[in-house]
């Protein structure tokens, strides 16, 4: 057990701290997740790109900083930005999912054309994966793309397309090979959201806001060269990015910051003449969550170490999405309980706390438990890949299908 990063990395940490001390004030508030980056956010992003605090290992010819991949440097950047409470680089779906996919599987032309403007916040992407009939069973998706005169003609519907209203472009899974088995019939296309035949309808969720959309395609014509990977390889291409999404949802720094915010809230809320945190039942729940957050933090350090040694994270990695999302949800639940009757206030009500953010979080985090691979799918993965338990026997129809895939 050695938790020292060593002098070389501590020098790097000092550089990051120095940068933050000098420039932190220029950071916009929560630039990271804004659908369409503001001018301030773009300026901040460009500053980070210039210093290599985002897109650090992406080659210079594609607009990155071109540093050698270094897990500890990446970790130090994340730690120091979190500690300073300063937003890091953009982490929208274009940056976190499309860019890694193109780097891995895109053509040289695609990399040169799309990566840099995406990193600079000039192009905003949305993800077209899920469909009303294809959620956990994503590979059963039915949005079709038939080839006609050098174009794919796309028809169908996507759902959960967050940022579709603001997006310039979409990366989208479509069925190109209607005769092929389900996993082998999918292609990964990238195209403009301004094309004729695309309609975006906001999808209002339980929070009262439309954080997502439904996107409809009617005879949308996309040039055939706007495919990533080969025809029929889309499932493989998409899985390269799903890994990135799951990584994104389990950030121990984020959990720790939520917990600190909860402690502050419980110290500030007055119930009669005492603070919420003086209630022993609430305090017990708080400390129980604190222990869980600590465990996830050290689990993250263990994973970091595995990564440094080139080992797979194994079970410690498989459980991150399930546990982190659940924990985030429980932190919000306790915040609501600590506020008592005040906890119900929402939507700019008089007396509401922190803009009703805890209720919004409580609901939205339930969405995160469901999205990006539901808790139940996560448990299947943990059981089947982590514990080597047998798969559910398939229905006869499904089994026939998979025999076809093998053949």
């Amino acid at each position: 057990m050695n938790l020292e990063y060593g002098p070389k990395y501590e020098r790097f940490r000092a550089e990051v701290r120095d940068f933050l001390a000098r420039n932190g004030k220029r950071a916009p508030e929560s630039a990271q997740r804004a659908a369409r980056p503001t001018t301030d956010a773009v300026a901040w992003q460009n500053l980070l790109l210039e210093h290599g605090y985002t897109a650090r290992t992406i080659p210079r010819e594609y607009g990155g900083y071109g540093a050698e991949p270094d897990i500890l440097e990446a970790r130090i950047i994340a730690e120091e930005f979190a500690r300073a409470g300063v937003p890091g680089g953009l982490s929208n779906q274009g940056v976190s999912m499309l860019v890694p996919t193109l780097l891995e599987l895109g053509t040289e032309e695609q990399k040169r054309r799309w990566i840099e403007p995406t990193l600079r916040g000039e192009i905003v992407w949305c993800q077209g994966y899920s469909e009303p009939g294809a959620g956990s069973d994503l590979a059963s998706l039915r949005t079709s793309a038939r080839e006609e005169n050098g174009h794919f003609v796309i028809n169908g519907q996507k759902i959960w397309t967050s940022t579709a209203r603001q997006a310039d472009m979409i990366f989208c899974l479509v069925r190109t090979e209607t005769e092929a088995p389900k996993h082998a019939g999918i292609s990964y296309l990238i195209f403009s959201m301004d094309l004729p035949g695309i309609e975006v309808r906001p999808l209002k969720t339980m929070t009262g806001h439309a954080e997502f959309n439904e996107t409809f395609f009617t005879d949308v014509r996309v040039p055939v060269d706007q495919i990533v990977g080969q025809r029929g390889q889309g499932w493989f291409v998409a899985n390269a990015t799903l890994g990135h999404e799951r990584g994104m949802l389990g950030d121990p720094d984020a959990l720790e910051n939520r917990l600190l915010a909860l402690i502050r809230l419980m110290q500030e809320e007055q119930i009669g003449s005492a603070r919420a945190i003086d209630n022993p039942v609430l305090r017990d729940r708080l400390v129980a969550l604190q222990a869980e957050v600590a465990a996830m933090k050290y689990n993250g350090m263990r994973l970091l170490s595995n990564q440094l040694k080139g080992e797979s994270g194994g079970m410690a990695k498989l459980i991150v999405k399930l546990q982190s999302c659940e924990l985030a949800h429980q932190i919000s639940a306790l915040a609501i309980d600590a506020m008592g009757e005040m906890g119900i206030l929402y939507a700019e009500s008089p007396r509401e706390r922190e803009g009703g953010v805890w209720q919004w979080n409580y609901m939205f985090q339930l969405g995160l438990i469901i999205g990006g691979g539901t808790a139940q799918i996560q448990k299947n993965i943990i059981a089947e890949r982590g514990l080597n338990m047998p798969r559910e026997p398939r229905l006869a129809l499904d089994a026939a299908q998979s025999r076809k895939e093998v053949a």
């Binding site: 050695n2 017990d284 222990a291 869980e292 170490s305 410690a316 943990i382 059981a383 514990l387 338990m389």
Partner: protein, 363 residues
């Protein structure tokens, strides 16, 4: 940066694991239990042969000079094997007490004999966690009077380290005049625990350090009970998964039913982060003193909660068989129950954690 066990610690883990696989199979645990013995001579001898008796004792005093993280690696294996072998008090807390609060002369007198196995210690510090049944131990003029509950590694102890009401530690011979030893029966037949009724028993005080050493013992004990729970919990998960992969109902193995699979996944998901937390807690005890007490609390309370869930869920996965004595699953169930309560159950420990952070009411 390397978060995890060193190659030497992995070797220690494997050595202890192999030793216990050979000397402490379930049949042996069962026969010890049936004869009412919480101490297996064959397991104690085997552990002694690989040097574990003096694990923590500094090398100058004839021990291995190892750390609490090393001890946690061992404790995990003992929990995994539900080993009826004294370890926590005898090989960890007693030498620690002497190292923390013993004079040079006391260390020179006792530590080599602990390492060689010539003397066997129990430790009674439950009173510094909570006073129960109104009993306590007072020290006056080199004599102890009162009752010390939940003395660990009770059976076979020649000496005890006893915490008094002020938190000061004392070294007491088990056979001194004025010492009455009363064994307590617990759910866990693989560990022995008892009470000491003291009436003016002569004892040798360790340093008057305002209870510092006693609190360090409490923290170390919490970490090692968490590590024991980790091993026992892991064994239960493995057993549940194995059983679910063999047992057939409705023409298929029950592990292929999502209802059963998800129980196993939930156990694994809650159990896995405990490992990193226990490692960190042990490491903090060794090298980050300002964090040690708090993270020991976290490790103790979280494993207490998680492994209670694991113990009942793994039992349920085994269906009716899990409830029988036949499979012996209950040895792990009870071991986990013991680990949860001793040196403070989760609520007690979380209350300590809140206090350590200044989260409790200031008025």
């Amino acid at each position: 940066m390397d978060f995890g066990l060193s190659p030497e610690q992995e070797m220690l883990r494997d050595t202890v694991g192999r030793c216990l696989a050979e000397t402490c199979p379930l049949d042996h645990v069962r026969s010890c239990s049936e004869t009412g013995s919480a101490v297996s001579d064959q397991v104690v001898a085997a552990l002694h042969d690989i040097g574990l008796t003096g694990l923590l004792v500094p090398e100058v005093h004839g021990g291995l000079g190892m750390t609490l993280l090393d001890a946690a690696v061992v404790a995990e294996q003992l929990g995994r094997a539900v080993a009826p072998a004294p370890f926590l008090a005898r090989s960890v807390l007693a030498p620690l007490a002497l190292m923390l609060a013993g004079s040079a002369a006391q260390q020179a007198e006792w530590l080599p004999r602990i390492a060689s196995g010539a003397v066997r210690f129990g430790v009674a510090i439950a009173g510094i966690v909570e006073e129960r049944d109104g009993v306590r131990v007072r020290a006056e003029g080199g004599r102890l009077t009162g009752t010390a509950l939940f003395a660990l590694d009770f059976v076979g102890a020649d000496y005890f380290i006893v915490g008094d009401v002020s938190g000061r530690l004392h070294l007491l011979a088990a056979t001194s005049t004025g010492v009455e030893r009363i064994a307590l029966q617990t759910i866990d037949t693989t560990r022995s625990i008892g009470e000491l009724r003291l009436t003016g028993a002569i004892a040798e005080p360790l340093a008057d350090d305002g209870g510092l050493a006693a609190r360090r013992l409490r923290d170390a004990g919490r970490v090692l009970l968490a590590a024991d729970s980790l091993g026992a919990g892991e064994a239960m998960i493995e057993k549940a998964v194995a059983y679910a992969g063999e047992r057939e109902q409705f023409g298929r193995v029950i592990g292929s039913f999502q209802a059963v699979k998800h129980m196993c996944a939930e156990m694994a998901a809650r159990h896995e982060p405990c490992r990193a937390l226990v490692w960190y807690a042990a490491h903090a005890f060794d090298t980050i003193p300002e964090e040690a007490a708090l993270v020991a609390c976290h490790a103790k309370s979280l494993t207490g909660e998680v492994h209670r869930f694991v113990a009942r869920t793994a039992t349920e996965v085994h269906g009716g068989m899990g409830f029988t004595d036949l499979l012996g699953l209950h040895f792990w169930f009870k071991r986990i129950g013991f680990d949860r309560q001793v040196l403070g159950g989760p609520e007690r420990v979380r209350s300590d954690a809140a206090q350590l952070q200044g989260l409790t009411a200031t008025t």
